[in-house]
């Protein structure tokens, strides 16, 4: 009974290195959309003291002076590299759960008897590394929670092979003792505080607590964690990804926006993207929320607002969302502010097949709408050709990505060059 957690090392920064062999062993950081904050750091950049999430302008001068390399985020490229890594894992173990863009759980129960857990992990690491150029860590344990702890220990102990298999009680206990409760999967800051007040500071101590007590004093979720720490499987591999509960599109702007019309245009872009995504997931949504805010670094003014609009019937029609956004935005927009970020969220999903009919609206109108949207989606699949009139068509550039790398794997004109 073994589960492996495969976790890409500094994923975005590692991607940037795959087609830039000159960046080997050099500090690399990747910035968030709009070049705002540092969202990924190579080990070398971490050693320079660049913290996760730090605003770029605060560290820029010192980092560049010391020879650091910086990239704007290139999500088309990272997404393709992620797909490759996940495909490989899926071909090795049929029970794979993609947990995030750079992490996956694998159930390889049965295989471990033949090769041994550690060797299996080593094979995984070498295969992904050789085939894609992305370095990964492999933490192995009898449960998901223990696999996570193994992965944490690889980082903490700086294990050179980047593989740790917790396959006997002695190794498990040693790893648990060296893991503070705050580092256990699912234990947040508040729970961490409550546990340390109860005298539980590391994972080993938590594993000794009687599960029933934990359930009474804390929650059923933490009880499950305790059982998992003791090698009892409570969390299964979810190889069928659950349908999304919400879709969020939000961005900071390169230049502050001080005008309702411009703001509306930019947000309309987000709506079109989110609605495309919604339709590709075959869902309908009956709530759209809009939020706008000024910059948190602006000392002279501060305003933030969020408001939701509910539809009587779930919809996936872009035009319905655009209508709702215009109405909602007008309600929360205040003049004389310099807006730095806006976003929208679609929620309250239901499957396309299920639509409650009403007394006042004929059901066939939905069909006609969905046909139009389908045609637009098909035409826009490779290249944007059809726009909704209120969308931003390049007049105003809301995103700044000055240091973006080429789309090495997804664009013919950006292919890497060999001599």
């Amino acid at each position: 009974m073994s589960i492996a957690l495969v976790d890409c090392v500094s994923f975005y920064a590692s991607c940037e290195r795959v087609f830039r062999p000159d960046l080997k062993e050099r500090p690399v950081v990747v910035l968030s959309n709009n070049d705002g904050c540092v969202i990924a750091r190579s080990i070398e950049a971490k050693k320079m003291g660049i913290k996760m999430g730090v605003p770029w302008f605060k560290v820029k001068d010192r980092y560049i002076r010391k020879g650091g390399i910086v990239f704007s985020s290139n999500f088309a490229f990272y997404g393709d590299m992620s797909r490759r890594v996940m495909n490989i894992l899926d071909s090795i173990s049929p029970k794979t759960e993609v947990y995030s863009i750079d992490e996956a759980f694998l159930d390889f129960s049965g295989t471990e008897k033949n090769v041994g857990c550690f060797n299996f992990g080593l094979q995984l690491k070498n295969t992904v590394g050789r085939w894609t150029g992305i370095p990964v860590r492999v933490g192995i344990g009898p449960t998901k929670t223990l696999a996570k702890i193994a992965s944490y220990q690889i980082k903490k102990r700086n294990i050179k092979s980047r593989v740790l298999a917790l396959d006997n009680q002695k190794d498990i206990n040693q790893a648990l003792e060296a893991t503070p409760v705050g580092e256990i999967w699912g234990v947040g800051r508040r729970l961490n505080r409550k546990l340390s007040m109860a005298g539980i500071n590391n994972a080993l101590q938590l594993s000794y607590a009687p599960p029933q007590d934990i359930r009474k004093r804390f929650s059923i979720v933490l009880e499950r964690t305790v059982r998992e720490l003791n090698g009892e499987r409570c969390l299964e591999i979810e190889d069928v990804s659950p349908t999304k509960k919400q879709i969020v599109v939000s961005r900071s702007f390169a230049k502050k926006i001080t005008n309702l019309e411009v703001l509306n245009t930019v947000i309309n872009d987000y709506v079109v993207r989110a609605a495309e995504k919604l339709r590709s997931e075959k869902q309908k949504s009956s709530t759209i929320s809009v939020f706008i805010r000024t910059s948190p670094f602006d000392a002279s003014q501060s305003y933030r607002a969020i408001k939701s609009y509910s539809f009587t019937y779930p919809t996936d029609d872009t035009r319905d969302f655009l209508y709702a956004v215009r109405k909602t935005l007008a309600k929360i927009y205040k003049p004389n502010y310099r807006y730095s970020k806006a976003g929208i969220m679609l929620s309250s999903f239901s499957d396309i097949g299920y639509v409650q009919n009403s007394l006042f609206r004929e059901s066939h109108t939905y069909k006609m709408n969905s046909k139009l949207m389908k045609v637009i989606d098909e035409l826009n699949i490779n290249q944007k050709q059809i726009y909704i009139a209120s969308q931003n068509i390049g007049k105003f550039k809301p995103i700044q990505r000055n240091m973006i790398s080429p789309k090495y794997t997804t664009s013919w004109i950006d292919l890497p060059v060999v001599r």
């Binding site: 062999p21 490759r84 894609t132 794997t409 060059v417 060999v418 001599r419």
Partner: protein, 143 residues
């Protein structure tokens, strides 16, 4: 040169290029109905790419491999999952730059060009060298 006719190219604006592929022999005198001809269409992706996750495309710049039929501007298909051996054509990172060369593992480990104007690159401890992948195909486009 001998050329075999495979079929007519239907070049729609599709991401996967499909060509009808005639699988049955056509017997003179009694042709089978047309609907029987069209079997599985030819898919260039399937033909050129065996391991999707490990396959990358790169663009050639220069004439170092012209003798192997790799023109300036050609597109190479690289499979990172196949281990190269003596005489394989590979892409490698040499001192921080990608090169395409023929790999020689004997008598000495080196990378040779297919063009007299280029010197072989001998791999020693002074050189930062890493194999990126094996070149499985080349696409030279003439128009």
């Amino acid at each position: 040169m001998k050329i075999n006719y495979i079929g007519t190219v239907i070049a729609d604006n599709l991401s996967e290029l499909m060509l009808p592929y005639f699988q049955d022999m056509v017997h003179a005198g009694f042709p089978s109905p047309a609907s029987d001809f069209i079997e599985s269409p030819i898919d260039l992706n399937k033909y050129l790419i065996k391991n999707n996750a490990a396959t990358f495309l790169v663009r050639v710049s220069g004439k170092s491999m012209i003798g192997a039929g790799i023109n300036d501007g050609a597109t190479l298909i690289i499979d990172r999952s196949i281990k190269p051996s003596h005489n394989s054509i590979i892409v490698a990172a040499v001192d921080g730059e990608f090169v395409c060369r023929r790999l020689k593992t004997k008598p000495k480990l080196c990378l040779v060009a297919e063009n007299k104007g280029y010197k072989p690159i001998y791999i020693n401890s002074q050189i930062d060298f890493e194999v990126t992948g094996l070149v499985t195909s080349v696409i030279n486009q003439f128009t």
